[in-house]
């Protein structure tokens, strides 16, 4: 039964015209994670590789393709956890980082903390040599369209994102 890797691209409303890209994205990411495991990589290596692929895919709400906050900016969160040691690393409200999941792993591996947030996380990223990227590179036209659409006073962003009950 081992090794095994399972990925998700997010629950909620996925418009028909984006469904195919979403399926392709999760299949590609799971192949990448599985290749790591087949090479003898750890489960942590595999999940970070798979999620990094999804962060780099603009079809998903993470990394490039993230939804925008009310100001039209990107703020991202990520977590990793290791089942052997119960070690964990997380970042919250980070900006200008292409792969928050890699920064979360650095928090686990290089600090005695579990979570770093906002400016502190950015300072840590710089100290670890993690390149900052312009926010523009993380924003897609689709994300901007949804942001505009949900600025209206009577908008329902949660319902727009989560869709109806299955």
């Amino acid at each position: 039964m081992l090794p095994v890797v399972v990925v998700h691209g997010g629950a909620g409303h996925i418009p028909k015209e984006r469904a195919e890209k979403s399926m392709e994205g999760v299949c590609s990411a799971v192949r990448a994670g599985y290749a790591v495991l087949k090479r003898g990589g750890s489960s942590m290596d595999a999940v970070v590789e798979a999620v990094t692929q999804l962060e780099n895919n603009p079809a998903f709400n993470a990394g490039c393709g993230s939804v925008l906050n009310v100001k039209g900016e990107v703020e991202m969160d990520a977590i990793v956890m290791d089942g052997k040691t119960l070690g964990s690393g997380a970042v919250s409200a980070v900006r200008n980082i292409a792969n928050p999941v890699c920064l979360a792993r650095l928090v686990m591996d290089k600090t005695s903390h579990t979570c770093l947030t906002a400016e502190g996380a950015s300072k840590f990223a710089r100290s670890m040599g993690v390149a900052e990227v312009p926010m523009e590179s993380l924003i897609t036209e689709y994300a901007r369209m949804r942001w505009r659409k949900n600025l209206a006073a009577d908008a329902k962003p949660v319902e727009c994102q989560m869709g109806k009950m299955g």
Partner: protein, 140 residues
């Protein structure tokens, strides 16, 4: 939100979750993803979970750790995932989805929303789906 769970050949489990958060959220709003036990949890003695959905609701029920509690009681990853999602739906009327794995390599991709894109790789087979009830397979 995107996420992954895995078990390697040594039986170690891990999880990872990453997100841009909720549409038009307030500046500084942080959801479930970076919160241990909510956005994800991993323990070699039970398994690993990565969650997605309405973050404020997932945090109220600490969804990832809740599912692993059900697995500690002997439920399968699929039954435990459904129990956790059903509790979130009944208790705080919210939707979500999870990918779950146990240390033996049994896995589940479950969701209470209409859709969740997911994929799994095991024994050189690729499994994937998007709508409720879908489970396609092909050689990897």
């Amino acid at each position: 939100t995107v996420g992954a769970v895995a078990v390697d050949s040594e039986g170690n489990v891990a999880c990872a979750t990453s997100t841009g958060g909720m549409l038009n959220k307030m500046e500084g709003r942080v959801g479930d993803t970076p919160c241990i036990g909510s956005g994800g949890y991993a323990d070699n003695q039970m398994g690993a979970v990565s969650t997605t959905g309405h973050g404020e609701a997932i945090m109220k029920v600490t969804l990832a750790r809740l599912i692993l509690f059900h697995m500690e009681q002997g439920h399968s990853p699929e039954a435990a995932s459904d129990l956790g999602l059903a509790y979130m739906k009944s208790r705080v009327e919210a939707l979500g989805g999870v990918v779950t794995v146990d240390p033996q390599g049994h896995w589940a991709a479950r969701f209470s929303s209409k859709q969740m894109s997911w994929a799994a790789a095991q024994k050189d087979m690729l499994h994937y789906g998007l709508y409720g009830g879908e489970h396609f397979t092909q050689s990897i």
